[in-house]
């Protein structure tokens, strides 16, 4: 790589520090682990979400749309020796017993069409999302954001995982209570 001057290389120090500040800003994550799965939930404030996408040169109007949603960020590992299916349509978000839906990729495409978001940013956004469906191999991990409507009170998430190559195995279910949409720190 020889495109730029050496001085530009040193400016990267700032970028790297900025990148890792984003990680440092995380609160203690919620971790769930049993014999089949390990899950790590991280919540980001609207300010943190805004900073992430602004740092990727998203427009102000795009960021304004983004911060209206809440993002359940999850890193998941299949600890079994079989295929474990990630299938977001089988996951249920609920608050006080009332179910609510996540914001799907189709929802976001409509948002992006409205503001004519450029393809590169649509691509980046899509790659930050949790895949909608994935056959997780033994010991494979996956991570990403699941956007949901902003919630003002704690909510629960029931994660249903079909198992086996053709989903023929027993359904694995885990319920996580007291998830929150983390709000900006006003101090």
């Amino acid at each position: 790589m020889k495109r730029r001057s050496l001085s530009a290389v040193f400016s990267s120090v700032t970028l790297i520090l900025f990148s890792f500040n984003g990680v440092a800003a995380e609160d203690t994550p919620l971790i769930y682990e049993d014999q089949d799965v390990r899950m790590r939930f991280v919540q980001f404030t609207p300010q943190q979400i805004s900073a992430f996408y602004e740092g990727r040169e998203f427009s102000k109007t795009a960021v304004e749309k983004l911060v209206k949603s809440c993002y359940v960020t999850l890193i998941l590992k299949n600890k079994t020796s079989d295929i474990l299916w990630l299938d977001l349509d089988q996951w249920e978000f609920s608050h006080n017993g009332k179910k609510f839906n996540r914001h799907t990729r189709a929802f976001w495409e409509k948002q992006w069409d409205d503001i004519k978001l450029k393809k590169a940013h649509r691509s980046t956004f899509n790659w930050t999302l949790m895949p909608a469906v994935r056959n997780l191999y033994p010991q494979e991990g996956v991570g990403g954001r699941i956007p949901i409507p902003m919630q003002s009170a704690p909510f629960s998430l029931t994660l249903n995982f079909p198992t086996g190559k053709n989903k023929q195995g027993k359904m694995k279910s885990v319920k996580i209570e007291n998830l929150n949409c983390k709000q900006n720190d006003l101090k």
Binding site: K2, A8, W127, G141
Partner: protein
Amino acid sequence: MKQLTILCLSLLISVNPALATKDLPYGIIELEARDAPALKLKDIDGKTYDIKSSRGKWVFVHFWATWCGPCRKEIPTIQDVITKFKGTNLDIAIINTSESEDTVFNFLGLLAPDISPLMDNEGLVTERWQPRGLPATYFVDPQGRLRYLALGGRPWNKADYFEFLNKLKEAAPKAQ
């Protein structure tokens, strides 16, 4: 006799260049062989690469982005792969997904200055390959078929991965 032996070995390699599954390092899985999608992009210095030009060699095809945590961890190990295998019978294609030249240059300048990534400016090539996520690494055989997939980020500079890459390099017919 020696020439006949070499010919037989060459034929064996070209018919079935895959390694036995038991020889694969952790996190590398064998795929049902199928034609690799098209890959033709300019690198950050403006030089065009077309995967068709790598016929006759194995190709290490890697997708990444600077915002992705596992990618940041993995990139220095890919720099080591490039140092070790550049100019050999293992071609290496590193594709940045949808980021600007400034972002990529500033990031790699510090961590991996020997990488000249191919710039998938709008993410369309990445979408065509449909990786399971970022980072993603595929191995394309000398006939242009997808043969192996690495699950997530891998420590490519560890001995068992170097050995795997060495076997691919040795399995490729010599470049013309």
